[in-house]
């Protein structure tokens, strides 16, 4: 919402029946599809479609941290680089990091630092790359959610997956998972990431205008959604490794374990009925 003022407050975002512009109810997520293991070179990867968002995440590491003077002798560095493709937004974005992406990279790095068992890999870095290919609000939540699957796909030891979803306020109503119009013309946005099993909050940002009560409603919606997203993450991982198993049975010469199964171009058909 930052950098954009509300110049068209007249726009009606919720109709008389409480339906949002895209037909969703206040507590409804946009369709979500996750696929694990989509890239060949990365140690782990995931592709995610979330409403109009298309996001890729890749993980390399733990690997030797470069440059050396950044190495932490006690633990792995967990470093995220969130990046938007120039064509992922309506007005072309110039390549390279801007201030917004630097901030998002920082808070996502911090979010994962609390769940990765970094002490097991001193002097290394776990490098997380998030590429937003098509943006429709909520890209940091989508990126974080995909990156969590990519970390698991890379076999990085973690306490648990992290799941993320924003809630906000539009036309005075607290709603889950704002899309782009709702974010631009809404009253508040509050991205959250949690460790679903413990309820620990690892990322929390908010801008806009919420009373304490509204904030709690928003958090309740986000935490509940994170649990549903957590199931989709685990489904994606389960599917990824069962597909591999089938492939092994089909092909005669067994694939050596350190080798990645071949990455596939995700297509609409690849995604099962787990989309919401």
């Amino acid at each position: 919402m930052e950098d954009i003022e509300h110049f068209a407050k007249a726009m009606k975002l919720i109709d008389a029946d409480g339906r949002r512009l895209d037909g969703r109810k206040f507590n409804e997520l946009r369709p979500i599809r996750i696929e694990a293991g989509v890239l060949r070179r990365a140690d782990g990867s995931a592709y995610m479609e979330w409403g109009g968002n298309k996001v890729l995440a890749a993980v390399y590491g733990p690997r030797e941290a470069h440059p050396r003077h950044l190495q932490d002798p006690a633990r792995a560095l967990v470093q995220c680089r969130y990046n938007m493709a120039p064509f992922s937004v309506t007005d072309r974005k110039r390549p390279g990091p801007d201030r917004r992406s630097v901030e998002i990279s920082k808070v996502i790095s911090e979010a994962f630092s609390s769940v990765v068992f970094a002490e097991q890999f001193p002097r290394t870095s776990v490098d997380i790359f998030i590429e937003v290919l098509q943006a429709d609000a909520g890209t940091r939540c989508a990126g974080l959610t995909a990156a969590s699957v990519a970390l698991a796909d890379a076999g990085v030891p973690m306490r648990d997956l992290v799941a993320s979803c924003a809630s906000g306020k539009i036309d005075g109503v607290v709603c889950l998972d704002l899309n782009k119009d709702e974010d631009n013309f809404g009253d508040a946005d509050c991205p959250t990431a949690v460790v679903p099993r413990t309820g620990e909050i690892v990322l929390l940002q908010m801008d806009g205008h919420l009373t304490s009560d509204e904030f709690e409603k928003a958090m309740d919606l986000s935490i509940d959604a994170a649990r549903r997203i957590y199931d989709l993450q685990r489904d994606a991982l389960r599917r990824r490794y069962s597909v591999t198993l089938e492939d092994i049975l089909k092909e005669s010469p067994p694939v050596p374990s350190p080798m990645q199964p071949e990455g596939r171009l995700p297509s609409e058909d690849d995604f099962g009925p787990e989309g919401i």
């Binding site: 930052e2 110049f7 808070v107 690892v202 940002q205 908010m206 009373t211």
Partner: protein, 259 residues
């Protein structure tokens, strides 16, 4: 800022103190440091304020100029917030382009001001689509002893409240004070293990696990939040931190409003 290693002994000591409600400098857990404020410190700026929060020393200058609005907000002025963490202020700050810490700091201060609608940016439109006022908030950190989020926010709010638009010299009518409509106050809480400390000093900040900055307005409503560091918060902790931020904010707001 993790380049200075704080011994685990010190951390244990601070934690033991906090467990009995005490702090190194004698404050209560929910007690911010003393705020001192000097307005109009810089005559070359349209507004300015120097704030000391304990020994953290911050100078904010506001410059105004006239330019084009963003195409998607043709009727509103433009707000731009920058932080320079100059190496004068700390041995851990380096010259050069802003690093992620400075960028996050500038953006969090900016969000508190922008989202609270402290300044009515619509009133800073001169000719829709063509000419609007541009507000530069430049934050200069002079001495760093912890909790820049709140110190910088207080200095920026006080500086804006003292700003007079130089309309006359630009042939745009009489000079006028900025149209201030709301009063955001940022309150930052640090978590050390399971203890929460408001307005952490540098020593406390260095050993903190997590940090939460909450900006509230004069109604106690939340306008911006930012969690930082690699630790986690429980939902109940977040609720408690918000309540504290509302309470502390009410005590600090009059300081920023007085002129």
């Amino acid at each position: 800022m993790s380049e200075e290693i704080v011994s685990e002994l010190m951390r244990a000591h601070v934690y033991r103190l906090a467990s009995t409600g005490q702090r190194l400098d004698g404050r209560a857990l929910d007690e911010p440091r003393k705020v001192s404020l000097e307005r109009a410190f810089v005559k070359t700026a349209e507004g300015s304020a120097r704030v000391k929060l304990g020994n953290t020393d911050v100078l904010v200058g506001i410059k105004m100029s006239v330019g084009e609005p963003y195409p998607d907000t043709p009727n509103t002025g433009v707000l731009s917030t920058s932080v320079e963490l100059i190496p004068m202020a700390s041995p851990t700050f380096e010259a050069g382009p802003p690093r992620p810490e400075a960028i996050e700091l500038a953006r969090v201060v900016d969000r508190g001001i922008r989202e609270s609608k402290m300044v009515s940016m619509e009133k800073l439109c001169i000719t829709p689509k063509e000419k609007v006022w541009i507000l530069f908030i430049d934050i200069h950190v002079l001495d760093y002893d912890g909790n820049l989020f709140d110190a910088c926010s207080y200095a920026a709010v006080a500086a804006l409240a003292s700003t007079v638009a130089p309309a006359k010299s630009l042939g745009l009518g009489d000079d006028f004070p900025l149209p201030v409509e709301h009063w955001p106050v940022s309150v930052t809480t640090a978590k050390i293990k399971d203890r929460l400390l408001v307005d952490p000093s540098l020593d406390e900040e260095r050993m903190a696990d997590a940090r939460l900055t909450v900006t509230t307005d004069e109604n106690g409503d939340i306008r911006a939040m930012q969690k930082g560091l690699s630790g986690t918060f429980s939902y109940d902790e977040v609720k408690g931190i918000i309540e504290t931020a509302q309470r502390v904010g009410r005590r600090i707001r009059p300081l920023l409003q007085s002129s």
